[in-house]
Assembly symmetry: C2
């Protein structure tokens, strides 16, 4: 049987209160000799404090939750890294959970936070719906959302500046590289990041008065395979684009595959650019030109917002929600040439 604080108290000849103090943050308020005795007994009995009981008594868990749509690939692990870094230095434990495969994200949220195993939650969601909104509205713990969804004014929010990133890349292709025939492989329609990236692309074309061609804008799914399929469609058009702007690096990798399979050589025959700047892009040949996203920074910023909330949750004047955009940059590789 596990030893409890009560066993310790009895064996050490003190009260449970003293044991609690000796082990907790009030170490100083107990005589060194007593404390030593208590610690010795703890060792003898292999005492392991029960955090559940502690949490119940203190009404806080010292942990924050991170809910991700999935835990796969560099993108998400880098978010985790950013969150973990700040959580750790703020003395919070991190609990990561994913709404993986079969499990839909709503369910995950429910199981995870409605039951308050954590003091606060960082939620990353690609899209919103009534159901989720309703659950969120009932939330009792602070919550920070990572998403590019508009509205949501009542929550702290951090997002990638998808619009600006896509706009800048498109502008770079047009202005610096003199391209006009630029196709886009977009992410899923219901994914807000994807939507904003597409908007940025379209806006840049408009700005430079380049006509938008429907057949050069393909919706896909952010996977490598999706990129393969979409690009093979683009490359089989009678009028082909000169450059393909994939809305993420995975799909750009799919374009490489297709190009190779179809006998096109990048960048000479077809230019390819991506978005995200995930690690493995550097191993693509030719090196991928892409939009740089400070992924771990997203996690850091979100966590800082959450910790601020947690700190403030005592005082009753709630700070108004913050909305932070993480800026992007352009990484110039060798996957697209200047137009002839």
């Amino acid at each position: 049987m596990k030893a409890t604080i009560y066993d310790i108290a009895k064996k050490a000849g003190v009260s449970t209160a003293t044991v609690s103090r000796a082990l907790g943050e009030e170490r100083e308020r107990v005589k060194p000799k007593t404390r030593e005795k208590i610690l010795k007994v703890c060792k003898d009995l292999n005492y392991q404090p029960n955090r559940i009981a502690k949490n119940l008594a203190k009404k806080s868990t010292g942990a924050i939750g991170l809910v991700l749509p999935e835990i796969q690939g560099d993108f998400y692990t880098e978010i985790i890294r950013g969150v973990d870094e700040i959580a750790y230095s703020g003395n919070y434990n991190l609990i990561v959970s994913s709404s993986h495969s079969r499990r839909n994200i709503v369910e995950s949220i429910l199981g995870f936070m409605r039951e308050s195993m954590v003091d606060g939650v960082i939620l990353m969601i690609p899209s919103m719906n009534r159901q989720i909104e309703e659950i969120l509205s009932k939330f009792l713990t602070p919550i920070v959302i990572i998403s590019d969804i508009e509205g949501l004014g009542e929550y702290d929010k951090v997002s990638i500046d998808n619009y600006q990133g896509a706009y800048s890349m498109t502008e770079y292709l047009i202005k610096s590289l003199k391209h006009k025939k630029i196709a886009a492989i977009c992410g899923p329609r219901d994914n807000q990041d994807a939507t904003m990236r597409k908007k940025g692309y379209v806006a840049a074309l408009k700005k430079y008065k380049i006509p938008i061609r429907k057949e050069w804008i393909i919706e896909s799914d952010f996977t490598i395979e999706g990129g393969e399929i979409a690009s093979s469609r683009l490359l089989s058009l009678s009028e082909k684009p000169d450059v393909i702007f994939a809305a993420n690096d995975n799909m750009a990798a799919g374009c490489y595959k297709t190009a190779e399979a179809l006998g096109y050589k990048a960048p000479e025959d077809i230019g390819i650019v991506g978005f995200d700047h995930i690690a493995f892009g550097a191993f693509l040949k030719p090196k991928l030109t892409t939009v740089h996203v400070q992924v771990p920074e997203i996690g850091r910023v979100a966590t800082n917002l959450l910790l601020d909330r947690l700190k403030d949750s005592g005082s009753n004047k709630k700070a108004s929600p913050k909305n932070i955009k993480i800026s992007t940059g352009i990484i110039i590789g060798d996957s697209v040439l200047k137009a002839k």
Copy 2:
């Protein structure tokens, strides 16, 4: 203030026990009408059950913990995927934690499990030491170890069959491809996976009576950069190997980089093979020949072992520890040719 089961009981005019039943697994044992009334009150008061209290009362959390050395790269996320899959279908929540960067793994274990926030733990560790062993020996919850460390007979254990994988690959290079000049870039000395891979390599050379050359066995660190450095050393030797067997795909990728930088062409000038078969290897050019490891399967198997333990923890006859090895295979790419 959060509503408690007590508030519900009062407002619904029933006892807390009835509320607990109506909401829990004994739904059936309460009259439908009563239950409905209770559910309505719950809605009205936006009642969120407190899982902490529940855990304390039930003495179980319904969650298992997964402790990884880090959460970065495909290898670890695929482990997570395997674990999550089984945990989910077994109705357990998964809590992932990493002993990331500054935090050493021991500390992580301490914070994570000694305090029994979980019913059981899956621990992945690259190496063992006294300190860790001592902590583990004091463990009160079931624990499954993912590691190729020998000994450890008292724990359920799952490991990659590193030895066999490395042996088979080396044998393939020798027997099928007629190579004799095979160098190895190993992982860290204190990493057990690395050690077993090296042993497999050495054993195969011995079996085929190929002399072992110290200068062709280099210790590195499983990173891309490590692979770069190690391979540049190999390629600057007066007598160069024909093939480099990198102990993981990351380091193999580093070899590609170096080879390119130094003007060697794979596979014509130098053969390169790896270990792990992580996703991005398929994007290397030429396609990487490597040892296939069923990574998600590691997670699945480990989780099944843990769930079995948890199921049995009621009965007092403990099943004897199981030790499962996950077999490997060889993926033939284009990164090494038959010897001339």
